[in-house]
Symmetry: C2
Subunit: 373 residues, 2 copies
């Protein structure tokens, strides 16, 4: 199947004059720039759009390449394109970098108009709901009248759920994947220790590290911890087992490494090259605050607002958002007579399976979209 | 049931002159002091002894109190005493702090006889097998001719297995709990990020921090990470859920905390007060190096040396040493005609269940000991 070809990230700025956009925490923010990409064409009635929602360290670059020299295409390339599950012959696919991000959308590393310097910790606390409200403004700007679906995994799935709860009339469906309607204690715990790793690094400097290297070790350690939770015990055993890096003598040193350790360090280094530590703090905090029930009489009643079809997809070996948490969403909706379904992606790859198992995931998504449209 | 009453930690020193004890890594160490406690009386034939083996941050103080003012008894108190599962009316129970430890047995914080200063990183890399060989010397010193059983959870279970592999004739049985015969890639990964947290702390100073505060933040973070893995998603949800610490306004701050975060910080602080960071590095490394198959033709053949009855106990919700890893030990032994059994402790508490579920664990252990003796 052909891919989407070359794409460019675009930018949209709103909330002029400054401080016109009120956040859930009560603070006001503006102007807000949103980085986004689109694939396919919006039809004249504006109702063939699909919104793709990225996870913690993702960006707007879902599919295709930005230049022919790019080594890799976007992060969900096999899912988006002509004839692919999110078929660009049929749908207008949109993805934007989230509020608080570091890939072009306003976040802690953006310039604070009141000081002329990066926000750093002056950036207000943002929530998943805030991200979704910004996306709503973007879609209006693009002329989208109604979404065929809002789809995403992990933090992306949280956004899909908030979409369903907040804008039920704007949606024909939602597809939350490997996620939860409210972050669990264990989920918070894993995020908390990752933030602590960043705080601990003297290079963090209270968030005022811009122009200097910043908390490279802390961010790398945060990513190393996160990486463990993104796969599964069985996949780590299969991929690395007890393979060693170096000789047996090296192993009898504190600094000797098994292959799994080397891999975690590699993942840590890679993220440091491409991600802002303060954004890591703010987005993990947004995940911790995630609870679609906030401001509603109850969690179940909040979910009950999702009147459109919902396909909740769990991953069998996910330890971060265990499948029971995803299944529970569908069950709560079904109890209220809502058209919700649960599907389980059977995979050894753990949480990350939604970024790996494209054949299985694509088939599930394709079937659901055929049903609802 | 009565408890064991007041106990005192005792000390035994061997390997005079220095450097007479050869470690698995090839380095020589000595003198070696071992801190230990005993409960009950050794019989005249010296064959009623039980060796209890502690986990990562444990010590020799298994049961009873050291003074009437002690707030808490030893870490496995409900398991050891008159009429308790390890019945001190019948058995002579011994527990020693492991080699490399910081509770009286020679470790990185002990004085290096060649320099007159703490070893720090001059301490050689030790293995689970080295720990067991030191215990063997202690038992000889105490006049023990044969063990009724060697029992322990987590790192203690690794020692029980090495006991079975290395001294099959010295044992009537072993009881490894919530452990593995060879540490998995995921197990190594969790230990690696914890060590990294200590390395990252400028207070670590390459291990030469004695006389100064040392890597308090790093050790606390290591413990916070470890703590997540010692329980289970379901137990965290049950104990803390999304309960907040402080007001909703506090929550909309980066430093705002959920109760689970507060609890992790508390666990971190508590460990810093009582544990040496270098010992944390050396013992987690020993766990990573743990593979009973090392030096044997194969893993299965090494396990096959365990000719005595083996009761391998897994914990249903253990994410650190998932039950399949414990069950596998019994299965490999059974295939070789060895008298091995697997029992599963059904508990929501995860890995730590062997330190919590005393009624369930006690019943399993008691039944097994009645069978073999």
């Amino acid at each position: 199947m052909p891919d989407v070809g070359l794409v460019q990230t675009q930018y949209f700025t709103f909330a002029h004059p400054p401080d016109t956009f009120e956040l859930e925490c009560g603070a006001r923010l503006g102007p807000i720039t949103v980085a986004y990409e689109t694939y396919g064409r919006l039809n004249s009635s504006g109702d063939n759009a699909i919104l793709v929602l990225h996870a913690l360290t993702g960006d707007a670059h879902v599919a295709g390449k930005r230049s022919p020299e790019d080594r890799k295409p976007g992060w969900w390339d096999p899912m988006v394109g002509p004839g692919r599950p999110l078929d660009t012959e049929r749908y207008f696919v949109v993805c934007s970098n989230v509020l608080g991000g570091c890939y072009g959308t306003t976040g802690p590393s953006s310039t604070n108009p009141t000081t002329g310097r990066p926000y750093g910790l002056d950036f207000p606390i943002i929530t998943i709901r805030d991200m979704v409200r910004v996306q709503r403004v973007l879609l209006e700007h693009l002329g989208v009248k109604r979404l065929v679906t809002a789809i995403g995994g992990s933090m992306g799935g949280m956004q899909a759920l908030e979409w369903g709860v907040n804008y039920p009339d704007f949606l024909a469906s939602i597809i939350p994947i490997a996620t939860s309607g409210r972050t669990s204690a264990q989920g918070i715990a894993y995020n908390a220790v990752q933030r602590e790793a960043i705080y601990m690094d003297p290079g963090w400097e209270g968030g005022n590290y811009y122009g200097r290297p910043g908390p490279q070790k802390g961010l790398a350690l945060a990513r190393m911890i996160g990486t463990i939770t993104y796969k599964s015990d069985v996949s780590w055993s299969f991929k690395f087992g007890r393979a060693r890096n170096g000789s047996l003598e090296d192993l009898y040193k504190l600094e000797g490494r098994f292959e799994i350790e080397n891999y975690l360090h590699y993942q840590g280094r890679k993220l440091v090259e491409r991600f802002d530590a303060n954004t890591y703090l703010y987005l993990t905090k947004a995940i911790d605050l995630h609870d679609v029930g906030r401001g509603h009489p109850s969690y179940a009643e909040a979910l009950g607002r999702i009147s459109c079809p919902c396909l909740a997809i769990g991953i069998s070996t996910d330890i971060l958002y265990p499948p029971y948490q995803v299944k529970e969403i569908a069950e709560i909706l079904q109890k209220q007579g809502r058209p919700a379904k649960y599907a389980e992606l059977n995979s050894p790859y753990g949480h990350d399976a939604f970024l790996i198992e494209f054949d299985k995931l694509g088939a599930i998504v394709k079937e659901f979209l055929a049903e609802i449209s």
